[in-house]
Amino acid sequence: MYRQRYYFEYIPIEDIVTQDRTFCLSYPLFDDILTESIRRFGIIQPIIVFDSEPYIVITGFKRLESALSLGFEEIPCIIRQVGQMDALLIAVNDNLTRGFNIVEKAHCVDKMMQLGFSMEEVYDLMGRIGLGRHESVVKSLIGLSWAETELKDFVLRHRLSMKNIDYLLWFDPNEREKIIAYLSGISFTDSLLREILEMLSLTKLKKGSLPEGELEGAKDAFEIRKRLKRYVNPGISSLDGEFKKLKESCGFPKNIDIKVDPFFEKEYIDIIIKADSLDKVRDGLKKIEGAIEKGYMEGIFGLTKSRIHRDED
């Protein structure tokens, strides 16, 4: 195996174009723990730069960022003469063992596409870093790579799934900013967020804008979901309201309950009597009989059988 020895040298930071992020995959760049370690022990592993003037960083952006924040004036560097594609591969491989977060994976894919790697090469890397090899995944990752830092931070903070990332990318940046602001202070699971985002996108599609009133002042994600459901499913909500009113009118004690299909799709209803004696059963049946006589049960069937519309027609 051919092995090449690389020597490092200390280079003044002012000779490096610190803002050139062509090969930067890391996100976020600033890392407290790394900075603290560098403050105590210095930079143990040199960064790699292009043999150019001024120098362009290939790998070691986080170390450079820490060095800058600590006021270092020079930094250990290995100077390499390589082509752009090789430089990116060095950057990828240099970071591969520590593992990439989803934003960094997005950067990898995006930069490979920009530098003209073949689709096969891109898919090969995607396979190695645990991503599905599909055109739609590439598209989403490129979207994430170019997204604003608020979204990237939100994605990492809540460890969002690709599905939810896709949903957020679907909105325009202004809307995204608002959604992230509303959701920032509250906790949610990935599936709850998915439900919320699905309803938000549906509303956006139907009405052309976000239902901001439904998001404002909600105390938690469940409340947001409840409000949005009312907004997205006005028919179901009104049926539900009618049902609750009728149920209340029945005046049943706690041991009697009526359940309907939450979507009012099934026409049958469940009538539950909880009883530990024959008397309680008799009493329950009498109460149900009363509700039938007063027409409340008929009203409930009207809802499950969707008779309301026909009668109004």
Partner: protein
């Protein structure tokens, strides 16, 4: 919208199946013939792309084997007048002029005179078939308002061409079928469907329409993501619920309202029309068109009656 490649296969697997139906919804007892798997028309709401993952459209060239299977069903089960169709996993006519797939089937049904073949399509090219058509082949078209064709069925034939092709089949002595499926609830859809029914009544001979199916949009849950991603405003305009089969469908009261509206519009054109609902619940049948259909067997019986009425002793 990638273009798919066509591949011919010679297979001896079962190509004739009962229409899959769906839980707690009444099916019409249809038999499907899988001659082609995949469709190049790529309608936006088509569920095929979610079931068939391949980029290849497979065409079964082993027609003799298919005909043998059809024949054995007709011979072994005489409980009904069976209806067979090739439009389940593809469009029945889209490849026909090029590959001539339907002709042997048309000829078989014409000679057998015991069952019906339905060619269901959104592709209005039938001139090449006209000389071979017989009364036992039903040419059927799925119809939508032109506004929907332009947005959601972009590659298929425009409405007027479908209606013209259907009329040609009628002029040749065939009965035709019409499928208003999927019916889509979008802003102003009532008006568009009103004009669609007007066009149907104006262009076609309604006495020669064997059946009309009505089916409101329904789709498996994973297609919701696709519709949102593709910003399919028309498809997502209505209010959806998850049905008992897990599919998204419109709220029941809406379904009843729309079916009733279309049923009345069509019946006003010709009271003798045979109209059925595709994959609907018993209560929706009852509330919208006033028919109590217990199950698939009962609906299949209604089809038998309809066919006997139109064909007399011929079948």
């Amino acid at each position: 919208m990638a273009l798919q490649r066509v591949e011919f296969i010679e297979t001896k697997i079962d190509a004739v199946r009962d229409c899959p139906g769906t839980k707690n919804h009444i099916c019409c007892g249809y038999k499907t013939i899988d001659l082609i798997e995949g469709c190049p028309l790529s309608c936006s709401y088509c569920i095929l792309k979610h079931y068939i993952k391949s980029d290849v459209i497979k065409v079964n060239r082993n027609i003799d084997h298919v005909i043998n299977q059809v024949d054995s069903i007709i011979e072994n089960d005489k409980s009904h007048i069976w209806r067979f169709g090739t439009g389940e996993l593809s469009d029945s006519l889209v490849f026909d002029r090029r590959y001539g797939l339907n002709r042997p089937l048309i000829e078989y049904f014409g000679e057998k005179k015991r069952a019906l073949l339905e060619l269901k399509s959104k592709w209005a090219q039938i001139d090449h078939l006209i000389p071979f058509l017989n009364r036992f082949t039903i040419i059927s078209f799925s119809l939508s308002p032109q506004a929907i064709i332009e947005k959601e069925e972009k590659r298929s034939s425009p409405l007027y061409k479908r209606l013209k092709a259907a009329k040609k089949a009628q002029d040749r002595g065939c009965f035709i079928g019409l499928h208003l499926d999927p019916i889509i609830i979008y802003e102003g859809f009532e008006k568009d469907y009103y004009y669609l029914v007007e066009d149907i009544g104006r262009i076609l001979d309604l006495d020669r329409v064997i059946w009309i199916s009505l089916g409101l949009l329904r789709f498996p849950s994973r297609m919701m993501d696709t519709f949102i991603k593709e910003k399919r405003r028309n498809l997502l305009y209505g209010e959806f619920i998850r049905g008992e089969d897990g599919k998204y469908r419109y709220l029941k009261s809406e379904r009843i309202r729309v079916y009733k509206m279309l049923y009345d519009l069509l019946k006003n054109k010709n009271n003798g029309l045979f109209i059925y609902l595709c994959m609907e619940r018993q209560d929706v049948w009852r509330e919208s068109i006033g028919l109590t259909i217990e199950d698939t067997e009962a609906l299949t019986g209604l089809f038998d009656k309809r066919i006997r009425y139109l064909y007399g002793g011929e079948l």
